[in-house]
Symmetry: C2
Subunit: 173 residues, 2 copies
């Protein structure tokens, strides 16, 4: 798919078919994250594919009771390793959020290119998911998304964005 | 350009031509960030285009003396608004790093689609840039990149990435 079509028509999808995702499609989507850039090429990310039905059901309560996430054939959970790379002098261990977000954005966009729906989940209980998925010490959950084919055509232009002149300025804020 | 070609051939560029960027090209690149998703659609981002030569030179010392950033016709500085949206229960005000990183990733990829080079700058002095560009209170600098046409063809496959089975697992970490 053409790059800007992917960018323009990516939407948060909250309704999924049960259809499973062919392995070669899933591999392309995951590979898009794999090649993402990161600070000093540290690649401080791990992606857990939650396919098990019992675990998916338990993910619902760990994600603020958003039931639709378990309707997709899988839920991808992105974890980041806390590192001492302190970007900007204020981010401290949180600078890994940037690296993991870059890789996860690649995944979200690649999913759109494959006709797959995603919904970036920001409301979740870190400790609950870490326990549920046996996340290694030193890692935190950064984001999650259901991944599956949308139950209807939802790939339309995004709504409700600020105008360009509200978010861009020259030489000063 | 085809989506996966953008993903596969984006590279950090550290050598630029002086050629300026046509307005319609720059607008397409900025618009790619504009439509990015963010938590509760807050869009907590601002992009400052640093074009002024004196400011560009001052940006060098604010970015860990990386001289090449001032060779590009402009430097884009991404700022994020600190919000109380506390993702995962541990990110606190730092969760805006995720939103700004998503939008900045859109920009980085769109630049590649246009044949423009970028280099995500993670080493910078937040306070120095905020003073230099008169960044509003409540905002922090999240990232910066030079933006311009590369001085040679550098768009090749990325190097030195982990293998897929090192970063992906099923049902548990």
């Amino acid at each position: 798919m053409e790059f800007y079509e992917v960018i323009r028509t990516r939407r948060s999808v909250r309704s999924f078919k049960k259809d499973s995702i062919p392995k070669e499609v899933l591999d392309r989507v995951l590979d898009a994250s794999r090649v993402a850039p990161s600070g000093s090429n540290r690649q401080p990310w791990k992606f857990i594919l939650v396919k098990d039905e019992t675990l998916k059901q338990k993910m619902i309560s760990a994600c603020d009771h958003q039931k639709f996430i378990a309707d997709a054939p899988l839920i991808v959970v992105a974890c980041g390793q806390k590192l001492s790379f302190n970007r900007g002098g204020y981010m401290k261990e949180m600078s890994m959020l940037i690296d993991v977000s870059i890789a996860f954005t690649h995944l979200i966009l690649a999913a759109r290119a494959e006709g797959l729906g995603t919904c970036w989940i920001g409301a979740f209980n870190n400790d609950e998911i870490k326990k549920l998925l046996q996340v290694a010490e030193g890692y935190e959950v950064v984001a999650a998304t259901p991944l599956g084919y949308p139950s209807e055509n939802v790939f339309t232009e995004p709504r409700g964005r600020k105008k360009l002149d509200e978010i861009v300025s020259e030489n000063k804020f």
